[in-house]
């Protein structure tokens, strides 16, 4: 690190003071300069008054996982001074608000401390406490622009776009940004040794969070019913869905809406609404997080056993219990895979970034209809709520939704008898009818024992026939879910298996390990159930590491259970402190520890 277009810095502020928009402005400016950038918002479960951080990483090579070390920390919250000064890498920089004398806590050998009196400048330039506080954030953005070489023209352009319709606010922001910029130029040596230089590496990309992208996927897939109960970090998914539906799905003449969004009384009801709508023939989904997944268990079993399509977006966060609602993890792998009592299994898709969240949202609806079962999209807080640089989302207009096996009135005419759960094709999927079809199509859904005609049964053979069909159906799902992504290196003996948001850090680790002479192949699992290819990957590598973000190596457990691979063949690398994974964790675990030792 520490060069042109290769550095990372963190800003520590108090939440609820408007720093989020300042941080967004910084990140977007860098992006507009054509330089790959990522931002990680490390925020508290609180509305106002607690410490919050924003990490920005700039990397010309496109490594956008969380930065392994910080070249600079901007310490604007006295409550976290001690922690912030300790977070700077040796030889790095600390920028603080020098309106007051340098506090003892911020003194540290081996780093450079820079001061700009943001508070004082804003008190002199603006009226009112609220305005002064808000604009102090814009002022530090100005100083960072000077220190890092951010193109002020880009900053001005972004401010104009954001506040164009509010001239008073626009003027104040321009003034504050200049204030910070000029002060830095006057007081400090600008730019720093690590700084930005224009590139052309972002023109085909966007900055988007995974919840927005997933919501957009739901819109494009034709989802019409969304049911939910607010829970961090999944809330913004339904908010985004609402926004897009209002934009694209309201008839301009009649004002009629081609969607129904129901904020339920709890997650149980959200699941029930989703399943009821799915049964009735709508593409329906709910979005939730760990505690919601716990509450939805009974309904998930019903939908599994009764063959009802539904999509469940799980934006994972730290558990157990309430856990840490604003911290990221992948802690629900097992509770999704086997959700509910009785023998149950559910397909899961694991997007690695917002781009894939968009694609997999669409796939999830197709799979739900095709397989007539709940499909999980397992995102997490990092993917869901942080802005990621991904390729522009694209849509193929030739897409037609796969609604699976649904019999029409005409189809029913040709049948002597409609048997809802008869497996005609041998893939475990029986054709369904939708309420309203009439004729012979009526059937009775139940969570109690039922036979292939959907009639109640307590007969062993009829019961077994039905649950065995469900097993066949799950096996068939393997042929439909997305395949793993593999990045090979010639001669690699080590295999790194990972999933979801760990992807960027693991790919970076693969590069770093190569620089140390360690060659590794990477396999990113994109779905459950697992393909044979996964087993082959494990068996064909001398040592395999499974990298995931939970304490108990849940992915490894699932691989053991489902593929029958021995526990000893996979070494877990676990990172579960609640922050996005860094490549360093992986490199140290692989290069530092002898391979093949089970945890």
């Amino acid at each position: 690190m520490n060069g042109v277009n290769d550095f990372a810095f963190k800003i520590g502020t108090v939440n609820g003071t408007g720093s989020a928009s300042a941080n967004g402005l910084l990140m977007r400016s860098i992006f507009r300069m054509g330089i790959p950038v990522s931002g990680k918002n490390l925020f508290p479960s609180n509305i106002q008054g607690l410490p919050t951080w924003y990490e920005i990483r700039v990397n010309g090579d496109g490594h956008l996982g969380r930065a392994p070390e910080l070249d600079m920390v901007v310490a604007l919250n006295p409550a976290t001074y001690a922690k912030d000064v300790a977070a700077v890498r040796e030889g790095g920089y600390l920028l603080y608000d020098s309106s007051w004398p340098l506090p003892k806590q911020l003194e540290r050998e081996g780093i450079t401390v820079l001061g700009v009196p943001f508070g004082k400048l804003c008190v002199e330039a603006f009226e009112g406490d609220r305005e002064r506080t808000l604009l102090r954030n814009i002022a530090y953005t100005g100083s960072l622009a000077a220190l890092l070489g951010i193109d002020m023209q880009v900053v001005d352009e972004l401010l104009n776009e954001t506040f164009g319709k509010k001239p008073k606010l626009l003027d104040a922001n321009h003034k504050a940004i200049r204030l910070g910029y000029d002060a830095a130029v006057e007081l400090l040596e600008c730019p720093l040794p690590f700084r930005l230089e224009r590139m052309d590496a972002t023109s085909d990309s966007i900055l988007i969070d995974g919840n927005t992208a997933a919501a957009l996927g739901a819109v494009y897939a034709g989802a019409t019913v969304g049911a939910w109960y607010p829970i961090t970090p999944s809330t913004s998914l339904m908010e985004a869905f609402t926004g897009f539906c209002q934009k694209y799905r309201v008839d301009p003449e009649t004002n009629e809406r081609k969607f129904a969004i129901l904020q339920a009384e709890d997650e149980l009801a959200a699941a029930g609404i989703t399943i009821g709508a799915g049964w009735a023939g709508a593409r329906a989904f709910t979005n939730t997080s760990g505690p919601g997944i716990s509450l939805m268990q009974e309904f998930l079993g019903l939908a599994y056993y009764a063959d009802i399509p539904a999509v469940f977006f799980n934006i994972q966060r730290c558990g157990p219990s309430t856990g840490m609602p604003t911290r990221t993890q992948q802690p629900d792998i097992l509770s999704m895979a086997y959700a509910s009592h009785g023998d149950t299994k559910h397909p899961i898709l694991f997007p690695a970034d917002p781009g894939e969240a968009f694609e997999m949202a669409v796939q999830a609806f197709d799979l739900a209809d095709r397989l007539q079962t709940p499909i999980f999209v397992a995102s997490d807080l990092d993917i869901g709520m942080n802005d990621w640089m991904v390729k522009k989302l694209e849509w193929d207009d030739s897409y037609t939704p796969d609604r699976g096996k649904v019999l029409t009135a005409e189809d029913l005419e040709k049948l002597a008898r409609f048997s809802r759960y008869r497996d005609v094709d041998g893939d475990g999927i029986a054709a369904r009818t939708l309420p309203g079809v009439g004729g012979k199509g009526a059937y009775f859904v139940r969570g109690s024992g039922h036979d292939m005609h959907a009639d109640y049964t307590e007969d062993s053979a009829a019961y077994c026939e039905l649950v065995d069909r469900l097993r066949r159906k799950f096996a068939h799902a393997i042929t439909l879910v997305p395949e793993p992504m593999v990045i090979k290196q010639e001669g690699a003996e080590i295999g790194l298996i990972t999933l979801g948001g760990c992807d960027a850090a693991v790919r970076e680790a693969q590069d770093l390990l190569r620089q140390q002479g360690i060659l590794a192949d990477v396999m990113r699992i994109r779905a459950f159930p697992f393909q044979d290819e996964v087993k082959e990957f494990i068996e064909s590598h001398e040592s395999v590491y499974v990298i995931e973000q939970n304490r108990d190596a849940q992915l490894r457990s699932l691989l053991m259970i489902e593929l029958g691979v021995p526990r000893e063949s996979m070494t877990p690398i676990l990172d579960y402190g609640g922050l996005p994974l860094t490549a360093r964790v992986v490199v140290e675990a692989v290069a530092g520890a002898p391979a093949g030792v089970p945890a």
């Binding site: 034709g222 081609k258 029930g272 009821g276 009439g438 009775f444 036979d451 009639d455």
Partner: protein, 359 residues
Amino acid sequence: MTSIAKPIATHPRLKTNSLGLTIRDYEGGMSTLCAGCGHDSVTAAIVQAAWELALPPHRAAKMSGIGCSSKTTAYFMKQSHGFNSVHGRMPSVASGAAAANRGLNVIGISGDGDSLSIGLGQLTHAIRRNTNMLYVIENNGVYGLTKGQFSASADIGSKLKKGETNEQPPIDPVLLALSVGATFVGRSFSGDKQQLVPILKAAISHRGLALVDVISPCVTFNNHEGSTKSYQYTRDHDVAAVEADYIPVCDPIEITGLGAQSSNGHADSLRVVQLHDGGTVRLRSTSPDYDPTDRASAHQHISACQRRGEIATGLLFVDSGSRSLHDVLRTSSTPLVDLRHEDLCPGSAALDSLMKRFR
């Protein structure tokens, strides 16, 4: 035990409704409830009401939770889709189905255990949401399938078969519904088909959630002396507070005016309420100061009956001007399930243009 197919032997001269269907066409599978169960009478009343209304069977969706009451959706309208979901959660599943397809007549059947304990939250929120559906509570004061524990509707002092006395206050679904904004509330007795059928017809025709609480005695676990949900007790304490008659849109409507003489000779008030489907309900209150179109008045009257140990029955409250789930959501008049993908997907050009927002 598998379900029992009902023998089909139809009388050749059975009357047909406007769809050309006989009442047998509205029946379902053979009931597996105890002989004499009140629920079977409710089932018969639903069959009667649906046949009289000429409800297209394929347009109905029968929803239920878990319990004796919830089993009954299998015993009527075999030509309709049915959904026996999980305990206490029928209201959410019904809300989802109703939201997805506004063309369905959603008929939800629940019980006092299913709706007033495990499902109390879902019941109240389905009411608040004003989901377009009929919501019947077959209320017997006990858990039947688990063999006779008290439910939340059991009255203080009511005795179980084994002698145990209930000491906790009951939840009255009617008063509860009124207090959370229900737009149609009725109560009847499974043994009074004459009263129940018109209430059900009006309820099915109501736009929004129509709650009908039906005292439906459990012959096996709660029909003894000392029970306040027995046939005998209910007959002795049932006081018709409102006489209701539902007149479908196609029939001529006879308005007899307010203050007409009722059959019992007392001066009472007749109110004619127009429902959204064009049909009307004629409400004849048996008390001069009770207005079943006024929420506070209904609440007051029912509470007063309760204090006197009477069970007020009838179509107790109706707000025909209410806004249902679809009115509030402004959902398209074409059911969501019938919209084509091109009506829902904004397409590639819109996505390209949207991408500017994320630059």
